[in-house]
Symmetry: C2
Subunit: 245 residues, 2 copies
């Protein structure tokens, strides 16, 4: 179709893939940018940054005439899975995580140097919540030792924020931000890792803040066509001729 | 960006524009088609079909190499505003409404003869709900006579369904469907016209049903890239080479 509208891409793992559920941060963002920008979800549940690299050239063609105006990069929850535990196949060492993020950013900036790229850290981990969740699925067979810890995920979050500073990009330290609120474990996380509606609201609020501080404030962006109140019912063509050249 | 994913466009008035609010039918549809198709909102609050025609060539370029695979056309709530009442500037005679819809369908089919085009009728009107809403905004100055009636909106709904039959297109008679449920006035409508979360759920359910009966059932469509469980952690490139040619 004829794309006149800017695109905002959400690139990440399951927390991005699920962002259009009821109360999801992606859907809320799409509503904010209604008639202004299209919010495009590219969320891949279970993916770490190593696997995300395989998608880069498929999702973001270097030669596209219409690159996104903005992208969120939201990985790390899977990279931070621990070696020797049940999710070890998703583990990526923290140094490689940082380098993979750097490659993703470089690729996006090669698509478009002006693209607003926002790095988001993984959320904190509620180890007790993860355990309860595993037990609800597997009963007594559930792992004894957590497959992710909050402390280790925090190390990944720190590297994500460090990289953003190095590259002069905005970032959202979700790992820290969520832990500022008492009871974050159950308030923001549904299974110790994925987000509740309130957790989604935190992500949404932080992304809006970053976009507003950058150059993409939804309230100030123009509508893509006249508001209906601007249309002269006797001469509707007039305003369309003026605004839709 | 590199568009490999099919697009589903939601074209309509405010009920489409607001479809990404919490519990909205557009967001729910986007979630259903996660990793399978992009749901693109083209909702224009207050627009009738006459004004929608001005947007057609801007929104749907005839020469685009990637036309949408499906589109919902969801107008009529404004066309059915009554002459001589407060919203008369939005009024479009019912014969013209039908012809405008026909022109929209023809344009989309010209973009792509295989596009699945679904016509959706306006929802029913709760006249008491409209009056309460007007009074909440304007107090005693609120209009004495309703600017829309359920009966007249039903005439538009009927013509919408008739046209779909003439053109062999699927349609959703939302006007009838909603009135099958006792208490539809408050259950499905928030201000006598726009949808509550439960009203959104009805639209969502009906759209999913039509898409499933046509050739676009989300559960059977392929994921755009391997599921993470298909990735061999030792040789991740393997599955990407196989599936991402």
């Amino acid at each position: 179709m004829g794309t006149v509208r800017p695109q905002i891409v959400l690139f990440g793992d399951s927390i991005t893939e699920q962002s259009f559920r009821i109360g999801g941060w992606g859907a809320a963002l799409a509503h904010n940018y209604s008639r202004k920008a299209d919010v495009v979800v590219r969320g891949y549940g279970g993916y770490n940054t190593r696997w995300a690299l395989f998608l880069l050239h498929h999702l973001f063609h270097l030669s596209t005439p219409t690159p996104p105006v903005a992208a969120t990069i939201f990985f790390g929850a899977n990279d931070a899975a621990l070696l020797g535990r049940t999710s070890e196949r998703q583990h990526v060492p923290v140094e490689e995580y940082k380098e993979n993020l750097r490659r993703i950013v470089h690729h996006l900036k090669e698509c478009s140097p002006t693209m607003l790229v926002v790095l988001i850290t993984p959320p904190p981990i509620d180890e007790a919540g993860r355990k309860e969740y595993a037990q609800s699925l597997y009963g007594e067979k559930a792992m004894e030792l957590p497959e992710r810890t909050n402390e280790v995920t925090g190390v990944y979050a720190k590297q994500c924020v460090e990289l953003a500073k190095e590259l002069c990009l905005p970032s959202i330290n979700l790992w820290s931000k969520m832990q500022e609120t008492k009871g974050w474990q159950k308030k923001f996380l549904s299974d110790g890792l994925h987000l509740t509606a309130e957790g989604n609201a935190v992500v949404h609020q932080e992304v809006v803040k970053v976009f507003n501080e950058a150059w993409l404030p939804a309230p100030e962006m123009p509508y893509d066509f006249p508001r209906h109140s601007e249309i002269d019912a006797e001469n509707p063509e007039k305003v369309f001729q003026q605004q839709c050249l």
